[in-house]
């Protein structure tokens, strides 16, 4: 259990989703610090410039300008310094082939953004709890897609 403040990184170009996400984090009972970037390039810049500790988790949107979530995931998992960073894919669309590929590329979980706000908050908080419990190794492929 992480007792110090949890560092959460969100990469999503959608302002509304960032707001929903922030609402979910704000309601989370454990101390949490949220950092938000709005495109893939920004994300990679931030990650490569980190000198001390990596964030505890990255929520990564797929459909982003300049550099999409796919490319970011590959870059992260290919980097010696960054590959331990747990990456949760957070996307509107769901395509089985895409999901399979993401699993192969080393993402920890796949979450399809729920349309119900309650569900939205629940699933993020569930994920944050898993992080807090340091229970974030890649599951089997059947449990890769997280649903509430």
């Amino acid at each position: 259990m992480i007792l110090k403040q949890m560092n959460v990184l969100l990469a999503d170009d959608d302002i509304d989703d960032c707001l929903f996400f922030k609402a979910a984090v704000d309601e989370f009972p454990l101390p949490t610090q949220l950092t938000v970037v709005h495109d893939g390039e920004q994300l990679m810049r931030l990650l490569t410039n980190i000198t001390n500790e990596l964030p505890d988790i990255l929520f990564l949107d797929l459909n982003m300008p300049r550099k999409n979530g796919f490319e970011c995931l590959s870059a992260i998992k290919l980097s010696k310094e960054l590959k331990r960073l747990p990456v949760i894919i957070f996307s509107t669309s769901f395509e089985q082939e895409v999901v399979n590929l993401l699993y192969k590329n080393g993402a920890q979980y796949f979450i399809r953004k729920p349309s119900e706000f309650t569900q939205f908050k629940k699933i993020i908080q569930h994920m944050l709890m898993l992080i807090a419990q340091e229970n974030i190794s890649q599951p089997t492929s059947e449990k890769f897609v997280l649903t509430m």
Binding site: D14, D16, T92, E95, S115, E116, F117, T118
Partner: protein, 398 residues
């Protein structure tokens, strides 16, 4: 006596003259004799010479005679030779005569043949002309075909572009269209959650309707995507046990099956060469369709069976008579449908029921048909209102 004396004297003188003359004649004769003697001696000499010459000539002649004898012998030999040669020449001539006859005959034959060839030649010339005409026609037909080919290539290129555009459209539907829709749903859910106390009942109802409509649209987008993915994804055929697929589908639909008290009976299912994940979707769609359109008064029973059958026994234009087909039947005892809808139910967005009663987007069976077509097969629906529906699928066994 002077005159007689004279006469005696005269006669003496005359006899003297006569004697002188005779003496002269004698001398002449002697001279002549001498000459003759000389002449004779000369002649004798000449005769001697001549005899000598004759002797020589004789020797010469004897030699010549010898030579002539030799020559004659040679001539005899030569003559024999000539006779032999002559004979040979005659033989040869006889042979040549025969050969000549033969040649004359052959010549005749050749003339006949030449006449025939000249006829054949004319025939060939005519055929040649015909062929040239035909070739000219073929050239025209060829250029026509080349043109048509070009047109087809253009058309194919256009289709490739159109297909790419369609894929782009699919992508837009799958990603960009879903995002604002989900946002509408989320905001509605936030209002319903946070502003519940501030809303009138009518306001709440309208928001709920809005949520339903948005949900339906999301379902539509998802189904449409599934439909387009059926055509765009790679088709990988593999020998698959259909029983396993049905077990998987049953597990997935477990709750609905329990809720509807449905029994699914699968018998004699043979392994088949199929695109497994598509066939799973096909079975899922057909079974969930049967579950959805079940008769509330009768427990639902779905029967699934298969057999291998020769195309010739199926009497269907779309099936090749000499191919073997896998025939799968899915039969239920649900609410069925009017027979004249048997084709329309496979069209995209075609629904027979009001969406408030039976939900759904009208894409499920269109997907089923697409999948069957991907397996080079056909699907036939038969039904009667309130008496259940039967789906017969035929696709090549190998």
């Amino acid at each position: 006596m002077a005159k007689i004396k004279n006469s005696e004297e005269d006669e003496l003188t005359i006899a003297l003259a006569e004697l002188a003359f005779q003496k002269e004649e004698k001398e002449k004769l002697v001279a002549e004799l001498i000459i003759v003697r000389e002449e004779l001696a000369f002649q004798k000499e000449e005769q001697g010479k001549r005899a000598e010459e004759l002797g020589i000539a004789n020797i010469e002649l004897v030699f010549e005679d010898d030579e002539k004898g030799k020559r004659a012998a040679e001539l005899i030999i030569a003559n024999k030779e000539l006779v032999f040669q002559n004979e040979e020449k005659e033989k040869r001539a006889a042979e040549l005569g025969i050969a000549n006859k033969e040649l004359i005959f052959q010549n005749d034959e050749k003339e006949k043949r030449a006449a025939e060839l000249s006829i054949a030649n004319k025939e060939l010339a005519f055929q040649n002309e015909e062929k040239e005409k035909r070739a000219a026609e073929l050239i025209i037909a060829n250029s026509e075909l080349a043109f048509q080919n070009e047109e087809k290539e253009k058309r194919a290129a256009e289709l490739i572009i159109a297909n790419k555009e369609l894929l782009a459209f699919t992508y837009v539907s799958s990603h960009d269209l879903q995002e604002p829709l989900r946002k509408i749903q989320t905001f509605v859910s936030i209002i319903l959650e946070n502003e519940n106390d501030n809303l009138s009942d009518n306001g709440k109802y309208n928001f709920q309707r809005m949520q339903l409509a948005a949900g339906r649209m999301q379902q539509l987008i998802d189904d449409l995507l599934a439909f387009s993915r059926i055509t765009t994804t790679e088709l990988k055929f593999e020998k698959t046990d259909i029983n396993t697929i049905i077990e998987e589908v049953k597990a997935e639909l477990k709750d609905t099956i329990l809720e509807k008290h449905a029994t699914i009976e699968a018998i004699e299912l043979c392994p088949a060469n199929i695109i497994a994940f598509q066939f799973r979707q096909l079975m899922y769609n057909l079974i969930s369709n049967a579950l959805k359109f079940s008769n509330p008064d009768i427990p639902l029973h779905i029967l699934i069976k298969s057999r291998i059958v020769k195309g010739s026994k199926l009497n269907n234009k779309k099936l090749s008579p000499d191919k073997e087909y896998c025939h799968i039947t899915i039969k239920d005892n649900g609410i069925g449908f009017e027979p004249h809808f048997s084709e329309r139910i496979f069209e995209v967005f075609q629904k027979l029921h009001n969406k408030e009663v039976y939900g759904g987007t009208g894409i499920g069976l269109a997907i089923v048909k697409k999948i069957v077509e991907n397996h080079n097969g056909i699907i036939i629906a038969t039904g009667e209102l309130q008496k259940g529906a039967t789906f017969d699928i035929y696709f090549p066994a190998n």
